[in-house]
Point group: C2
Chain length 215, copies 2
DNA sequence: GTCTATATCACGATAGAC
DNA sequence: GTCTATCGTGATATAGAC
C-alpha cells in the first residue's frame, strides 16, 4: 500500500518533484485527501497533470509520499534540541515552553495533525507512521528525562510523560485546530505552570506542614 | 451557513429523516465529508437521492444537521452522571474510570472525533459547536469538582481540568483513532493512576511530615 | 520528461411523473 | 413526498505529440 515504493519513484528530475510535493502539501493540508484534486495540485505546483503522474503512480502514492516527507521534517524538529542543565523544575519548564511555543507558531503543524487524524480512517498505515516517528519519540524522550530526575514525584514516568504530551497536544487541538480559542480561552503559561506544579510540586510551599498549596 | 435553519427543515415525515441521518452518519463517519457521496448516503438510508434533497437543502445542510444531532447525543451522555460521595481521590478515580471506559467501548465516539477534527478546516463552525457542547461542559464540570475539594493540591483548577481531559482524549487519540495501540501500548489504568497520583498526591503517604509526597 | 487533449466515469443537484 | 431519469460539471487517469 504505497508506503513502500516511494523511494523507487524518486530517481527522476527531483526539481519538479519538490514543486509537486509543495503543491500537494498546500492542497492536502487545506482540503484533505478526498477534497483535493490532481488538477489543482498540478496547478499549485506549476506543472501539468501528466507530469504529476510521471513522478507519482497515483493520488494515493503522492499522498503517502507527502505524509512520509512531512513526518521526517517534523521529527527532525525535535531531535536536535538540547536542554542544558538545571533543576528538574527548570528543565521541565524550559522543555514545555519550547514545545508549546513551537506548536503555537507553526501553523503548518496544526494543519498536519488535522490531516493525519482526519485521514486516519482511510490511511491507517500513515497514521501509524505518524505515531511511530512523531508521538513515540517525543514521549520516549520525556519519559527518560522524568526517569533520570528522581526528585520528581512520579512512580510511572511513561504514563506521566503521556499525560504531559497529551495535555499539550490537546491544548493545541482545542485552541487552534478546533478553533476554540474564543470559547475556552486559556493562556499557555497556565497549562505549563499547572503541569510543572503537578509534577515537581507546588512552587511557594510556605508552610511545609500538612496544610496544602492553596494560593 | 447551515447551522441555523436546521429545525426549519424538520417539519417533514420525520420517519425518513431519521433513516437519512442514520445513513449519513454511517457514510460520513467512515469516509469523511468529501469522501462521501449523496448516492451512497441515499442507498445506505434506503431512500432515493431526491428524497434526501427534499429533507435537506444540500450536502452541507445534511452534514451540519448530522453533526448537530451527534453533538447533542454525546453531550447527553455526560450530563446524567452523578458520582456519589467519597474522598477526592475516590471520586476522581471513579470519574476517570467511567470516562475512559465509556470512551474505549464507544467506537462511534472515536470516529466522531476523527470526523470533527478532520473537517474542522472546512467547517470551523461545526468544530466550535463541538468545543462548546462537548469539550467545554466536560472541562467545566471537572473544574468545579476540583475547586470544590480543597484537599487536592492544585492552585489552578481550570488548567488542571484541561490537563486531565487532555490526557484522556490524547490517550484515545493515539490508541484508537491513530491506531497506535501496538506501537505505544499502555494500559488505561496506568494513565488513570498516574493522573490521580499527580493530583491527589502519591497513594502511600506513609509520613505526612515535612518530607513531601515521594513514594 | 513534459506538455495538450481526451477518455471515462462519478459527483451534486434537479425535472417531472405519480 | 417519493420515485426514475437526466443534466452539467469536475474527477482520476492516460494517449500521443514534441
Amino acid at each position: 500500500m504505497g508506503i513502500q515504493g516511494v523511494r523507487s519513484q524518486r530517481q527522476l528530475s527531483s526539481e519538479k518533484t519538490a514543486a509537486i510535493l509543495a503543491g500537494a502539501m498546500q492542497q492536502f493540508l487545506r482540503y484533505g485527501y478526498a477534497g483535493s484534486s490532481m488538477d489543482r495540485i498540478a496547478a499549485a505546483a506549476g506543472v501539468s497533470k501528466a507530469t504529476v503522474y510521471s513522478h507519482f503512480r497515483d493520488k494515493e502514492g503522492l499522498f503517502a509520499a507527502l505524509i512520509q516527507q512531512m513526518a521526517v521534517e517534523k521529527m527532525a524538529l525535535m531531535d536536535r534540541e538540547h536542554f542544558g542543565e538545571g533543576s528538574a523544575r527548570e528543565l521541565l519548564q524550559r522543555i514545555l515552553a519550547q514545545g508549546v511555543g513551537q506548536l503555537e507558531e507553526d501553523d503548518e503543524y496544526g494543519a498536519f495533525i488535522r490531516l493525519i487524524i482526519g485521514e486516519s480512517g482511510r490511511f491507517p498505515q500513515l497514521a501509524r507512521l505518524f505515531v511511530e516517528n512523531i508521538s513515540k519519540p517525543g514521549v520516549d524522550r520525556l519519559t527518560q528525562l522524568l526517569a533520570a530526575h528522581p526528585q520528581v514525584q512520579c512512580s510511572d514516568p511513561e504514563a506521566t510523560a503521556r499525560i504531559v504530551i497529551g495535555a499539550v497536544v490537546h491544548y493545541k487541538l482545542i485552541q487552534d485546530i478546533l478553533h476554540g480559542r474564543d470559547i475556552m480561552p486559556l493562556e499557555s503559561d497556565r497549562i505549563i505552570q499547572a503541569l510543572v506544579n503537578l509534577i515537581c510540586g507546588a512552587p511557594a510551599q510556605v508552610w511545609p506542614s500538612a496544610g496544602g498549596s492553596r494560593s
